[in-house]
């Protein structure tokens, strides 16, 4: 393929991935890796290198905007990143020791349940219960953001912080062991377990995914998986898309964001169950 055609096509594809990633709190890898490998014929290693850069670019572009507007909660992000990074380290050490197929099946079933709970919550614009959680108060896991769609200040406070922390640790272990991104799990834990508003969950996930991706980006780089001519249009497109995505998401309803998020959970659940059964979609 000619470099010019490839660069322009990948730039626009990445623009779309950046918009979706910024809205849903995902790095874009879930979209970019299959597109780059299947439609553009990019080697899987280069595609994964491009994906890790796309996660950091989405995070930098989106979180910079979300932190300024208060949609992304820095304290919630830092508090939970402790759990995911520790989990990812544990998972990396356990990889190869514990058989993964059962884990993939269990994860697939857990995600199916999450999809079910997401469907049940589809109509909930905001969490109704702002009751106190000891850990949330102690660690200041609360905040307020101005909702452009609802045209008012929205106060929120995390609930079930211990459960959310444990879930984040588990998500980190699984992502370390199975080599999968964990943006979707972060959003699910914040939205479902900690009962944060959906937009706060995806915006905070955007900040967190950049940190976890940065931890592994060095290894992709030193392994030679980051090809400048493949990654450059991805980075440019995703950064621009992420910025665009933040302006779109700020004007969306929480329920709309959750509806857009649902297919991702269903896809992840199916792909994990199939992987557990020995069928790899990619």
């Amino acid at each position: 393929m000619s470099l010019t055609v490839f660069s322009v096509a990948v730039l626009f594809t990445s623009l779309g991935a950046g918009v979706v990633g910024a809205i849903l709190g995902l790095g874009g890898g879930i979209l970019l890796v299959p597109i780059l490998t299947i439609f553009y014929g990019v080697d899987l290693h280069y595609a994964m290198g491009a994906s890790i850069i796309s996660v950091i670019a989405t995070s930098s572009g989106a979180a910079a905007s979300y932190l300024r507007t208060g949609l992304s909660n820095l304290r919630v992000g830092l508090f939970l990143v402790m759990a995911t990074v520790t989990g990812a380290l544990t998972g990396a050490l356990l990889a190869g020791v514990v058989p993964t197929r059962w884990l993939e099946l269990i994860l697939g079933l857990a995600l199916s349940y999450s999809a079910f709970t997401t469907i049940r919550q589809l109509g909930d614009e905001l969490p109704r219960d702002l009751s106190a959680d000891g850990l949330a108060i102690r660690f200041g896991l609360e905040g307020t953001y101005h909702d452009l769609r609802l045209e008012r200040e929205i106060p929120y406070r995390a609930r079930n912080v211990a459960g959310g922390f444990v879930a984040m640790y588990g998500a980190g272990v699984l992502s370390g062991m199975l080599g999968i991104g964990s943006g979707a799990f972060k959003v699910l834990a914040m939205d479902y377990l900690m009962r944060l508003p959906m937009k706060v969950s995806t915006a905070t996930s955007n900040f967190m995914i950049g940190l976890t991706a940065a931890a592994s980006a060095g290894i992709y780089f030193s392994r030679g998986d980051i090809h400048v001519l493949i990654v450059a249009p991805v980075a440019v497109g995703v950064l621009a898309g992420a910025y665009l995505g933040t302006t779109v998401m700020a004007r969306m309803r929480n329920t709309t964001v959750r509806k857009l998020f649902l297919p991702i959970v269903v896809y992840l659940a199916l792909s994990m169950i199939l992987r557990g059964l020995g069928i790899h979609l990619l």
Binding site: L3, Y40, I53, I56, S59, S60, G218, F221, S222
Partner: protein, 135 residues
């Protein structure tokens, strides 16, 4: 409640670091690609999308030293400039957390200064562990 803090002060700093890191990285990537195009790179080059065995193809840098060699070369290797932009982008989240630590301390939020320091330490450990496993 967390100790008193100026509203959004740390958040604004972290946001600014992410924005500046992203934009400077982006500028270097685009500038490098522009130079590459000006040198006729886009006309001559048919992109090899599979990973060849043996030596890394043009556009793949595996160490900062290699990027440094490309930048010192005359004329400058334009792809080394883009690679520098990518490295800057990769370092941006870590830089944001690093700068958040003194900012939390200034706000007398010692709890989150400690948490940010712990996160930074864990990022470094995972980077080192990954490097050790790789080598």
């Amino acid at each position: 409640m967390t100790p008193t803090r100026p509203a959004f002060a740390v958040e604004l700093l972290v946001a600014r670091v992410l924005l500046v890191g992203g934009l400077v990285g982006l500028a270097l990537i685009v500038f490098g690609l522009g130079l590459y195009a000006a040198h006729g790179g886009f006309h001559q080059h048919v992109l090899l999308l599979s990973r060849p065995a043996g030596d890394a193809p043009p556009g793949v840098f595996t160490s900062l030293r290699q990027i440094g060699v490309g930048l010192r070369h005359r004329p400058v290797d334009p792809l080394a400039l883009s690679a520098l932009g990518l490295v800057l982008l990769m370092a941006t989240p870590g830089a944001a957390v690093t700068l958040a630590i003194p900012s939390f301390l200034a706000a007398r939020d010692f709890r989150y200064a400690t948490i940010a320091a712990l996160v930074l330490a864990m990022l470094l450990v995972s980077l080192l562990l990954a490097g050790a496993i790789h080598s």
